[in-house]
Protein backbone atom coordinates (compact mmCIF):
# COMPACT_ATOMS: atom_id res chain seq x y z
CA UNK A 1 0.00 0.00 0.00
CA UNK A 2 2.81 2.32 1.10
CA UNK A 3 4.72 1.36 -2.05
CA UNK A 4 1.80 2.26 -4.30
CA UNK A 5 1.43 5.66 -2.55
CA UNK A 6 5.17 6.27 -3.00
CA UNK A 7 4.96 5.37 -6.68
CA UNK A 8 1.96 7.72 -7.13
CA UNK A 9 3.80 10.53 -5.33
CA UNK A 10 6.84 10.01 -7.52
CA UNK A 11 4.66 9.85 -10.61
CA UNK A 12 2.87 13.13 -9.67
CA UNK A 13 6.20 14.80 -8.91
CA UNK A 14 7.63 13.66 -12.24
CA UNK A 15 4.56 14.95 -14.11
CA UNK A 16 4.83 18.33 -12.40
CA UNK A 17 8.51 18.55 -13.14
CA UNK A 18 7.93 17.57 -16.77
CA UNK A 19 5.13 20.17 -17.12
CA UNK A 20 7.36 22.76 -15.54
CA UNK A 21 10.22 21.87 -17.88
CA UNK A 22 7.97 22.04 -20.95
CA UNK A 23 6.52 25.39 -19.82
CA UNK A 24 10.01 26.77 -19.21
CA UNK A 25 11.18 25.46 -22.58
CA UNK A 26 8.19 27.03 -24.33
CA UNK A 27 8.75 30.32 -22.56
CA UNK A 28 12.44 30.27 -23.41
CA UNK A 29 11.60 29.30 -26.97
CA UNK A 30 9.15 32.16 -27.39
CA UNK A 31 11.65 34.57 -25.91
CA UNK A 32 14.30 33.39 -28.36
CA UNK A 33 11.84 33.56 -31.27
CA UNK A 34 10.70 37.10 -30.44
CA UNK A 35 11.80 39.53 -33.16
CA UNK A 36 14.39 42.10 -32.27
CA UNK A 37 13.64 44.59 -35.01
CA UNK A 38 10.68 45.66 -37.12
CA UNK A 39 11.43 46.93 -40.61
CA UNK A 40 8.76 49.18 -42.11
CA UNK A 41 8.82 50.23 -45.77
CA UNK A 42 6.98 53.47 -46.50
CA UNK A 43 5.97 55.53 -49.54
CA UNK A 44 6.12 59.31 -49.41
CA UNK A 45 9.04 59.43 -46.99
CA UNK A 46 11.02 62.31 -48.52
CA UNK A 47 11.64 64.97 -45.85
CA UNK A 48 12.85 65.38 -42.29
CA UNK A 49 9.39 66.37 -41.06
CA UNK A 50 7.96 63.14 -42.44
CA UNK A 51 10.60 61.22 -40.55
CA UNK A 52 10.11 63.26 -37.38
CA UNK A 53 6.37 62.56 -37.28
CA UNK A 54 6.77 58.82 -37.78
CA UNK A 55 9.61 58.62 -35.28
CA UNK A 56 7.49 60.43 -32.68
CA UNK A 57 4.56 58.03 -33.23
CA UNK A 58 6.62 54.86 -32.99
CA UNK A 59 8.55 56.01 -29.93
CA UNK A 60 5.28 56.21 -27.97
CA UNK A 61 5.03 52.40 -27.80
CA UNK A 62 6.27 50.83 -24.58
CA UNK A 63 7.95 48.10 -26.67
CA UNK A 64 10.05 50.59 -28.66
CA UNK A 65 13.65 50.98 -27.69
CA UNK A 66 15.04 52.93 -30.67
CA UNK A 67 13.85 54.17 -34.06
CA UNK A 68 15.95 54.70 -37.16
CA UNK A 69 14.65 56.42 -40.30
CA UNK A 70 16.29 56.25 -43.71
CA UNK A 71 14.95 58.67 -46.30
CA UNK A 72 17.37 57.12 -48.77
CA UNK A 73 15.85 53.64 -48.48
CA UNK A 74 12.34 54.83 -47.44
CA UNK A 75 12.66 52.51 -44.45
CA UNK A 76 12.02 52.79 -40.73
CA UNK A 77 13.58 50.37 -38.24
CA UNK A 78 12.19 49.87 -34.75
CA UNK A 79 14.41 48.29 -32.13
CA UNK A 80 12.16 46.31 -29.79
CA UNK A 81 12.77 45.93 -26.10
CA UNK A 82 13.67 42.37 -25.13
CA UNK A 83 10.73 40.00 -25.35
CA UNK A 84 8.33 42.74 -26.45
CA UNK A 85 6.60 43.43 -29.74
CA UNK A 86 4.23 45.84 -31.47
CA UNK A 87 1.27 44.36 -33.32
CA UNK A 88 1.15 44.85 -37.10
CA UNK A 89 -2.18 46.66 -36.95
CA UNK A 90 -0.69 49.19 -34.52
CA UNK A 91 2.33 49.77 -36.76
CA UNK A 92 0.05 50.11 -39.75
CA UNK A 93 -2.18 52.58 -37.86
CA UNK A 94 0.88 54.64 -36.87
CA UNK A 95 2.04 54.97 -40.46
CA UNK A 96 -1.34 55.69 -42.02
CA UNK A 97 -2.32 58.06 -39.17
CA UNK A 98 0.90 59.94 -39.83
CA UNK A 99 -0.25 60.40 -43.42
CA UNK A 100 2.01 57.95 -45.25
CA UNK A 101 1.47 54.83 -47.32
CA UNK A 102 2.66 51.55 -45.84
CA UNK A 103 4.41 49.21 -48.26
CA UNK A 104 5.36 46.44 -45.86
CA UNK A 105 6.21 45.30 -42.35
CA UNK A 106 8.88 42.68 -41.77
CA UNK A 107 10.02 41.30 -38.43
CA UNK A 108 13.70 40.51 -38.24
CA UNK A 109 15.71 38.50 -35.74
CA UNK A 110 18.84 40.46 -36.61
CA UNK A 111 20.04 43.20 -34.35
CA UNK A 112 18.77 46.72 -34.98
CA UNK A 113 22.33 48.05 -35.22
CA UNK A 114 23.31 45.53 -37.91
CA UNK A 115 20.25 46.31 -40.03
CA UNK A 116 20.83 50.04 -39.57
CA UNK A 117 24.44 49.75 -40.66
CA UNK A 118 23.42 47.65 -43.68
CA UNK A 119 20.91 50.31 -44.73
CA UNK A 120 23.47 53.10 -44.26
CA UNK A 121 26.05 51.15 -46.25
CA UNK A 122 23.74 51.18 -49.27
CA UNK A 123 24.02 54.97 -49.45
CA UNK A 124 25.65 56.16 -52.64
Amino acid sequence: MAMIRTTRTLSTGFSQALAGFIAAACFAGSALAAPKTIRIDIDGLVCAFCAQGIEKKLKKHAATDKVFVSLEQKVVLVKLKEGQDIADDKVKADITDAGYALRGIVRRDEAFEKLRDDIKAKKP
Partner: protein, 226 residues
Amino acid sequence: VDKVSLVALGAAIACVAAPLAGKPIAFADGTTTMVELDSNTREAQAFYAPRHWWSLGFAAARMQDDARTKRHDVEYAQVNFLVRRWNFEHAQGNLFVSAGVGSAQTREAMRDRNGIEREQRWRGGVRRLTVQGDYETRTFYTSFKSDLHRASRFIDRADQAQIGFSPRAHDYDDLAVWFVGQVRKYRGMDDKTEGGAFVRLFRGPFWVEIGAAERRKGTFMMMYNF
Protein backbone atom coordinates in the same frame (compact mmCIF):
# COMPACT_ATOMS: atom_id res chain seq x y z
CA VAL B 1 -3.42 64.75 -74.15
CA ASP B 2 -3.97 63.99 -70.45
CA LYS B 3 -0.30 64.58 -69.65
CA VAL B 4 -0.32 67.84 -71.57
CA SER B 5 -3.45 68.93 -69.70
CA LEU B 6 -1.87 68.03 -66.37
CA VAL B 7 1.29 69.96 -67.16
CA ALA B 8 -0.77 72.95 -68.33
CA LEU B 9 -2.88 72.79 -65.16
CA GLY B 10 0.24 72.57 -62.99
CA ALA B 11 1.82 75.51 -64.80
CA ALA B 12 -1.38 77.54 -64.44
CA ILE B 13 -1.55 76.80 -60.72
CA ALA B 14 2.11 77.68 -60.31
CA CYS B 15 1.57 80.97 -62.13
CA VAL B 16 -1.38 81.87 -59.90
CA ALA B 17 0.51 80.81 -56.95
CA ALA B 18 1.99 83.60 -51.54
CA PRO B 19 4.39 84.09 -48.77
CA LEU B 20 5.74 81.36 -46.56
CA ALA B 21 6.21 77.99 -48.14
CA GLY B 22 6.44 76.25 -44.79
CA LYS B 23 3.74 73.68 -44.29
CA PRO B 24 0.94 74.54 -41.84
CA ILE B 25 0.85 70.91 -40.68
CA ALA B 26 4.06 69.01 -40.10
CA PHE B 27 2.80 65.80 -38.46
CA ALA B 28 0.10 64.43 -36.13
CA ASP B 29 0.39 65.55 -32.50
CA GLY B 30 2.94 68.10 -33.62
CA THR B 31 3.27 71.82 -33.06
CA THR B 32 4.54 74.06 -35.82
CA THR B 33 5.89 77.56 -35.24
CA MET B 34 6.85 79.85 -38.10
CA VAL B 35 8.24 83.35 -38.43
CA GLU B 36 8.67 85.19 -41.71
CA LEU B 37 10.33 88.55 -42.22
CA ASP B 38 10.76 90.52 -45.41
CA SER B 39 10.53 94.15 -46.43
CA ASN B 40 6.75 94.00 -46.85
CA THR B 41 5.62 91.35 -44.40
CA ARG B 42 6.30 90.30 -40.83
CA GLU B 43 4.37 87.25 -39.85
CA ALA B 44 4.30 84.76 -36.96
CA GLN B 45 2.22 81.60 -36.84
CA ALA B 46 1.78 78.74 -34.35
CA PHE B 47 -0.31 75.64 -35.01
CA TYR B 48 -1.06 72.38 -33.26
CA ALA B 49 -2.10 69.35 -35.34
CA PRO B 50 -4.23 66.76 -33.48
CA ARG B 51 -4.20 64.65 -36.63
CA HIS B 52 -1.98 64.71 -39.70
CA TRP B 53 -4.76 66.24 -41.80
CA TRP B 54 -5.71 69.29 -39.75
CA SER B 55 -4.26 71.87 -37.42
CA LEU B 56 -5.48 74.87 -35.47
CA GLY B 57 -3.64 77.94 -34.30
CA PHE B 58 -3.03 81.62 -34.30
CA ALA B 59 -1.25 83.98 -36.60
CA ALA B 60 -0.37 87.64 -36.67
CA ALA B 61 0.95 89.63 -39.59
CA ARG B 62 2.02 93.15 -40.42
CA MET B 63 1.97 94.11 -44.08
CA GLN B 64 3.39 97.34 -45.43
CA ASP B 65 3.65 98.84 -48.87
CA ASP B 66 6.97 99.76 -50.44
CA ALA B 67 6.40 103.51 -49.88
CA ARG B 68 5.63 102.91 -46.19
CA THR B 69 2.38 104.90 -46.43
CA LYS B 70 0.05 101.98 -45.72
CA ARG B 71 0.18 99.42 -42.96
CA HIS B 72 -2.18 96.52 -42.22
CA ASP B 73 -1.93 94.62 -38.93
CA VAL B 74 -3.96 91.44 -38.75
CA GLU B 75 -4.38 88.84 -35.99
CA TYR B 76 -6.51 85.78 -36.44
CA ALA B 77 -7.36 82.23 -35.43
CA GLN B 78 -6.72 79.84 -38.28
CA VAL B 79 -7.60 76.27 -39.15
CA ASN B 80 -5.57 74.34 -41.75
CA PHE B 81 -6.61 71.25 -43.63
CA LEU B 82 -4.53 68.81 -45.61
CA VAL B 83 -7.06 68.27 -48.37
CA ARG B 84 -5.05 65.68 -50.24
CA ARG B 85 -1.71 63.97 -49.97
CA TRP B 86 -0.09 61.94 -52.70
CA ASN B 87 2.49 59.44 -51.46
CA PHE B 88 4.78 58.07 -54.15
CA GLU B 89 7.76 55.80 -53.74
CA HIS B 90 10.25 58.65 -54.15
CA ALA B 91 8.03 61.75 -53.85
CA GLN B 92 5.21 63.39 -52.00
CA GLY B 93 2.58 65.97 -52.97
CA ASN B 94 0.30 67.95 -50.67
CA LEU B 95 -2.64 70.27 -51.03
CA PHE B 96 -3.55 72.48 -48.06
CA VAL B 97 -6.42 74.89 -47.51
CA SER B 98 -6.43 77.33 -44.58
CA ALA B 99 -9.13 79.65 -43.31
CA GLY B 100 -8.91 82.28 -40.60
CA VAL B 101 -10.98 84.96 -38.92
CA GLY B 102 -9.73 87.80 -36.77
CA SER B 103 -9.24 91.50 -36.46
CA ALA B 104 -7.40 94.01 -38.57
CA GLN B 105 -6.10 97.49 -38.04
CA THR B 106 -5.02 99.78 -40.85
CA ARG B 107 -3.02 102.99 -40.92
CA GLU B 108 -2.77 105.05 -44.04
CA ALA B 109 -0.81 108.28 -44.45
CA MET B 110 -2.64 110.76 -46.68
CA ARG B 111 -2.20 114.41 -47.53
CA ASP B 112 -5.22 116.67 -47.19
CA ARG B 113 -6.10 119.50 -49.60
CA ASN B 114 -3.67 121.78 -47.73
CA GLY B 115 -0.84 119.32 -48.23
CA ILE B 116 -0.73 118.41 -44.56
CA GLU B 117 -0.01 114.76 -43.90
CA ARG B 118 -2.67 113.02 -41.84
CA GLU B 119 -3.04 109.44 -40.74
CA GLN B 120 -6.26 107.56 -41.29
CA ARG B 121 -6.94 104.60 -39.02
CA TRP B 122 -9.46 101.82 -39.26
CA ARG B 123 -10.23 98.72 -37.20
CA GLY B 124 -12.52 95.82 -38.09
CA GLY B 125 -12.88 92.16 -38.86
CA VAL B 126 -10.76 90.26 -41.36
CA ARG B 127 -10.98 86.87 -43.05
CA ARG B 128 -8.14 84.90 -44.53
CA LEU B 129 -8.16 82.13 -47.08
CA THR B 130 -5.03 80.33 -48.21
CA VAL B 131 -4.54 77.57 -50.76
CA GLN B 132 -1.14 75.93 -50.83
CA GLY B 133 0.32 72.99 -52.68
CA ASP B 134 3.69 71.34 -52.98
CA TYR B 135 5.45 68.46 -54.66
CA GLU B 136 8.86 67.28 -53.55
CA THR B 137 11.41 64.57 -53.93
CA ARG B 138 14.70 64.53 -52.06
CA THR B 139 16.32 66.74 -54.69
CA PHE B 140 13.48 68.65 -56.35
CA TYR B 141 10.84 70.93 -54.83
CA THR B 142 8.02 73.03 -56.21
CA SER B 143 5.16 74.81 -54.51
CA PHE B 144 2.48 77.39 -54.96
CA LYS B 145 0.55 79.44 -52.45
CA SER B 146 -2.28 81.89 -52.82
CA ASP B 147 -2.99 84.00 -49.74
CA LEU B 148 -5.96 86.33 -49.40
CA HIS B 149 -6.77 88.76 -46.57
CA ARG B 150 -10.18 90.32 -46.94
CA ALA B 151 -11.77 93.03 -44.82
CA SER B 152 -14.44 95.60 -45.56
CA ARG B 153 -11.69 98.19 -45.94
CA PHE B 154 -9.11 96.24 -47.95
CA ILE B 155 -8.22 93.13 -49.90
CA ASP B 156 -4.59 92.00 -49.83
CA ARG B 157 -3.56 89.09 -51.96
CA ALA B 158 -0.18 87.50 -52.51
CA ASP B 159 0.39 84.64 -54.93
CA GLN B 160 3.66 82.79 -54.96
CA ALA B 161 5.35 80.02 -56.89
CA GLN B 162 8.61 78.39 -55.88
CA ILE B 163 10.94 75.91 -57.49
CA GLY B 164 14.02 74.50 -55.89
CA PHE B 165 16.65 71.85 -56.01
CA SER B 166 19.06 70.22 -53.66
CA PRO B 167 22.48 69.32 -55.04
CA ARG B 168 22.61 66.31 -52.76
CA ALA B 169 19.90 63.91 -51.67
CA HIS B 170 19.79 64.41 -47.91
CA ASP B 171 18.87 61.92 -45.23
CA TYR B 172 17.17 62.41 -41.85
CA ASP B 173 20.37 62.99 -39.90
CA ASP B 174 21.90 65.26 -42.59
CA LEU B 175 21.73 69.01 -43.05
CA ALA B 176 19.51 69.51 -46.09
CA VAL B 177 20.58 72.39 -48.34
CA TRP B 178 18.22 73.71 -51.00
CA PHE B 179 18.43 76.51 -53.53
CA VAL B 180 15.01 77.97 -54.21
CA GLY B 181 13.76 80.60 -56.65
CA GLN B 182 10.40 82.25 -56.30
CA VAL B 183 8.05 84.67 -57.97
CA ARG B 184 5.55 86.57 -55.85
CA LYS B 185 2.70 88.70 -57.12
CA TYR B 186 1.10 91.21 -54.75
CA ARG B 187 -2.32 92.76 -55.25
CA GLY B 188 -4.02 95.26 -52.99
CA MET B 189 -1.59 97.31 -50.93
CA ASP B 190 1.04 97.14 -53.68
CA ASP B 191 0.42 95.85 -57.14
CA LYS B 192 3.69 94.30 -58.16
CA THR B 193 5.46 91.12 -59.10
CA GLU B 194 8.75 90.37 -57.43
CA GLY B 195 11.34 87.69 -57.96
CA GLY B 196 13.59 86.29 -55.29
CA ALA B 197 16.00 83.53 -54.41
CA PHE B 198 17.02 81.96 -51.16
CA VAL B 199 18.85 79.16 -49.50
CA ARG B 200 16.78 76.75 -47.46
CA LEU B 201 18.41 74.73 -44.74
CA PHE B 202 16.78 72.14 -42.61
CA ARG B 203 17.81 69.52 -40.20
CA GLY B 204 15.58 67.63 -37.78
CA PRO B 205 12.90 70.03 -36.49
CA PHE B 206 14.53 73.24 -37.80
CA TRP B 207 13.86 74.87 -41.15
CA VAL B 208 15.48 78.20 -42.08
CA GLU B 209 15.34 80.24 -45.29
CA ILE B 210 17.61 83.19 -45.96
CA GLY B 211 17.54 85.06 -49.22
CA ALA B 212 16.98 88.17 -51.21
CA ALA B 213 14.20 89.62 -53.31
CA GLU B 214 14.49 92.30 -55.97
CA ARG B 215 15.97 95.71 -55.07
CA ARG B 216 18.24 94.15 -52.45
CA LYS B 217 15.43 93.22 -50.08
CA GLY B 218 16.28 90.54 -47.60
CA THR B 219 13.99 87.68 -46.69
CA PHE B 220 14.07 85.35 -43.71
CA MET B 221 11.87 82.49 -42.66
CA MET B 222 12.22 80.06 -39.78
CA MET B 223 10.11 77.10 -38.83
CA TYR B 224 10.41 74.80 -35.84
CA ASN B 225 8.37 71.63 -35.28
CA PHE B 226 8.01 69.68 -32.06
